[in-house]
């Protein structure tokens, strides 16, 4: 692969060193200040009690059986969600990206859309669908199969795993499809020429080649599920199933300095798990091999499913129905229902909650806050992503992996930990006081979600053969001009996608916002969560549906404006 060569030409050699070094230093400094230092301080703090260094807090926290239980639950739920998530995501990514299944584009959008919806909204829907007594789907299934009792109970570990899986598999789906699109079609063709059936080809060629991405995708699901607060607090709490995150928040809500310290000590374990997973993922995927697409344009190749085309499409439709359509429809219907004990009907119908959504100052303000914070996080994040992509794929600058590593580190750190660490270090004690501002939210979102954006841009950039840029250079264009004329248009869809991948989870972020919000900076995610848990499920459903409609609208608009080139 010629792409691995040095491409220092992009800048004149004399000044390039300084600019590259400056960029690396700037990004690393940002990450050190807002990521490494707060985390380190958090760990340090958990060892310091009233009278100096002590293991007291740790002893107390880790000898409490409830916490061990929570740790075990976290490992089980996150671990199994990872396994199931990948088992769902890989075939879907292959079907959508590589075969002639009907409605591929539609399904792609549909599955990615799940990423754009707050996970705890799904939790609400599943609560209504699968609760053991009167769950709509439960009752339906029991009737359908003539069962004497309802088949499912959502308030169990299994239920928790189910909801976590249905909401985090899109992370794996996005990661795997991206790698899948990049794979050289001739590799699969070679296998088919050798007489292998499509299925065999997938198992013997596609799967092994994809393995690094699959592992990366799985670990992403694991970390996300392990650091999720919304779903376990809604699904797990009623059944007394605690996870580390719900325990941490419990400790925080004790409302004393000691509670905060306890939360910190417990958070350390989550941090260790997160970073262990991260280490394994870098270890396995250390030799990240990008199959590059050259300047030679090829037609995308497609596997013909033949007689399987219809059955497979039906199967995927059923899956989409159960996992995406029914839960979202449930949420949407809830937002119009007056009395949730009765079915939606003309007498039990109201638009009151939509009125609240559209007129209440509190909701509109929080939506504005989230919009600002998420846009800022996504914009700064994507700028850093582009710079990092350039450093990683087009230069051999020394130390360029350092920011890369730190970004991955931030993503691997559970949200609660990031938030706690930021509160402790950024509230004026060390000269920086951004607590109670939107800035602290933006910083937190960036630390947590930068990775998704960066991976997208880096993979897009690595797909672009350097000769395309060199051709611009040799045509007389300066490197900036070449970047603008050639590189940017080619990676633009990925830049937009990357922007959304940072924007969306930031927009509805709950876990960190729960700890970081202040009077003026409450976010829509937190507002939604309060409505869900304290005020009115219907209003919460209206907010959630509103977010969903917004996402669909933006996606549609992007698609229209760019004639199908951009979509989420």
């Amino acid at each position: 692969m010629k792409s691995n060569r040095s491409h220092s030409y992009l800048l004149p050699p004399t000044s390039s060193l300084n600019i590259k070094a400056a960029l690396i230093v700037a990004i690393a400094a940002f990450l050190l200040l807002f990521n490494v230092w707060p985390m380190s301080y958090l760990i340090f703090r958990s060892f310091v009690g009233e009278g100096g260094f002590t293991l007291e807090t740790f002893k107390r926290i880790y000898t409490y059986p409830l916490n061990w239980n929570a740790l075990r639950n976290t490992l089980i739920t996150a671990g199994l969600s990872m396994v199931f998530g990948v088992m769902i995501a890989f075939p879907l990514a292959w079907l959508v990206g590589r075969t002639d299944m009907y409605g591929r584009k539609f399904f792609r959008t549909l599955f990615v859309m799940t990423y754009m919806v707050p996970p705890y909204v799904g939790a609400m829907a599943w609560l209504r669908l699968l609760n053991p007594r009167v769950g709509t789907m439960n009752v339906f299934l029991a009737k359908l199969f003539g069962l004497s009792e309802n088949p499912f109970n959502i308030y169990t570990l299994g239920g928790l795993i189910w909801v976590l899986t249905t909401f985090y598999y899109p992370y794996a789906f996005i990661t795997i499809s991206r790698a899948m699109e990049k794979m050289d079609p001739s590799l699969e063709e070679a296998s088919k020429i050798s007489g292998a059936s499509p299925l065999r080809t997938v198992m013997t060629v596609t799967f092994p080649i994809m393995l690094p991405s699959i592992v990366a995708a799985g670990l992403l699901v694991f970390v996300s599920a392990a650091s999720c607060y919304g779903i376990p607090s809604i699904i797990g709490a009623p059944g007394q199933i605690d996870t580390i995150t719900t325990r941490i928040i419990d400790y925080v809500y004790v409302g004393s300095a000691e509670g905060l310290n306890d939360a910190t000590a417990l958070a350390v374990s989550l941090m260790i798990i997160g970073n262990l997973v991260l280490y394994v993922s870098t270890f396995i995927c250390g030799s990240r091999q990008y199959v590059t697409v050259s300047g030679k344009s090829t037609r995308p190749n497609i596997v013909e499913l033949g007689k399987w085309r219809v059955p497979v499409t039906i199967l995927v439709t059923l899956f989409a129905l159960v996992v995406v359509v029914i839960p979202f429809a449930t949420v949407a219907m809830t937002s119009f229902t007056k009395n949730l004990g009765k079915p939606l009907s003309s007498t039990n119908f109201t638009t009151r909650y939509w009125n609240i959504l559209l007129t209440r100052k509190g909701i509109l303000d929080t939506a504005k806050n989230s919009l600002i914070a998420a846009s800022a996080a996504a914009t700064f994040g994507i700028i850093i992503s582009c710079v990092m992509a350039w450093l990683l794929t087009r230069t051999k600058a020394k130390g360029r992996q350092i920011p890369d590593f730190l970004i991955t580190l931030g993503s691997g750190t559970p949200s609660v930990v990031i938030a706690l660490a930021l509160i402790m270090t950024m509230s004026g004690r060390f000269g920086i006081n951004i607590y109670n501002t939107l800035t602290i939210m933006i910083v937190a979102y960036m630390v947590k979600y930068l990775l998704m954006g960066m991976r997208t841009v880096v993979s897009a950039m690595s797909q672009i053969h350097p000769s395309l840029e060199e051709a611009a250079l040799i045509s007389g264009a300066e490197w900036q001009r070449g970047f603008w004329d050639v590189t940017l248009p080619l990676i633009a869809p990925s830049v937009v996608a990357g922007w959304f991948l940072i924007f969306m989870p930031s927009f509805y972020e709950l876990t960190m916002s729960t700890l970081l919000y202040s009077t003026d900076t409450k976010t829509i995610g937190y507002e939604l969560f309060t409505y869900q848990t304290y005020h009115s499920q219907q209003t919460a459903s209206a907010i959630a549906t509103g977010i969903l409609i917004m996402v669909v609208a933006v996606n549609w608009l992007l698609n229209k404006l760019t004639k199908g080139e951009f979509s989420i």
């Binding site: 220092s8 300047g295 051709a471 040799i474 007389g476 490197w479």
Partner: protein, 283 residues
């Protein structure tokens, strides 16, 4: 009038030396081929001329103007060079016209002139009917011509070609060889051509530079390289050859088994003789 002067060029990647000290002058309108197996340093050489790599030591001059030296480095965009890449590097998001017009747009040539010049160059490479096609609607050979047209459109002083034919089928390759040669004559430019294909080298070049492991083995006309290879590697790399050991004296080589073969080399003593199949006459 476009010559390229290379003086004491070396190139290191870290501690690894990929090009050993090399000096040569490519004269105006000359067709120079850099020939050698994969990884021999020929592409690195070409990229140094283009300006994508900077030599570790030495000086490169184009038309007596230093483009790369101790404290001078002209970036590729200012060297006025045309280049065709192995992978063509045709921009997939621009149609044929825009691909070819790009260098002229950079030079801020007037719109009407751009259109004429692009049309003319496309005519020359037989692509006129495809002017508004997107690259993915073109065959490999056609994409290759787009790349060639783009490299030539701004009338560069020097044209660099990096294995441009390696992705084409045998038949097309043959046609393209003549076309490239034709175009070189028509445009009267200096061409540096990189290939690992000896046939291309011998058919097209005025002079061939044979590389192996970063070391220049021989610089000469194709005929001389074929008939008077400088060493075993060159002899082996160019054409079919068998090697025999023997002692040379007075126009004869005495083989180990006592046979004698006539030869016109000047060497005497223990030698290895390279025998071309066509020079063997069987009685």
């Amino acid at each position: 009038m476009s010559s390229i002067t290379l003086t004491n060029i070396t190139k290191y990647y870290g501690d690894v030396q990929v090009i050993q000290t090399f000096s040569e002058v490519f004269s105006d309108k000359e067709f120079i081929t850099l020939l050698g197996p994969s990884g021999c340093g020929k592409t690195t050489m070409l990229r140094m001329i283009a300006g994508f790599e900077r030599p570790t030591t030495g000086e490169i001059k184009i038309d007596d103007k230093i483009v790369s030296g101790l404290d001078v480095f002209v970036p590729p965009n200012l060297r006025n060079i045309g280049m065709v890449f192995q992978s063509y590097a045709v921009w997939p998001h621009m149609n044929v016209f825009n691909n070819v017009a790009y260098p002229l747009k950079i030079q801020k040539v007037a719109k009407s002139e751009i259109t004429t010049r692009v049309e003319n160059i496309l005519e020359a490479v037989h692509l006129s009917p495809y002017i508004s096609r997107m690259p993915n609607e073109l065959s490999g050979g056609q994409q290759q011509r787009v790349a060639l047209a783009r490299a030539l459109v701004s009338n560069p002083r020097v044209l660099l070609l990096d294995e441009p034919l390696s992705n084409l089928d045998a038949k097309l390759r043959e046609t393209m060889r003549y076309e490239i040669k034709d175009i070189q004559k028509k445009f009267g430019i200096t061409v540096v051509y990189v290939t690992h294909d000896q046939t291309e080298a011998i058919e097209m070049s005025d002079r061939v530079i044979v590389f192996n492991r970063g070391i220049v083995q021989q610089v000469d006309t194709p005929l001389n390289i074929y008939s008077h290879p400088a060493n075993e590697f060159v002899a082996d790399f160019i054409g079919k050859v068998s090697f025999v050991h023997g002692r040379a004296s007075d126009g004869y080589i005495a083989l180990d088994d006592g046979q004698k073969i006539s030869c016109n080399g000047r060497k005497t003593g223990d030698v290895i003789a390279a025998v071309r199949p066509e020079s063997v006459t069987v009685f």
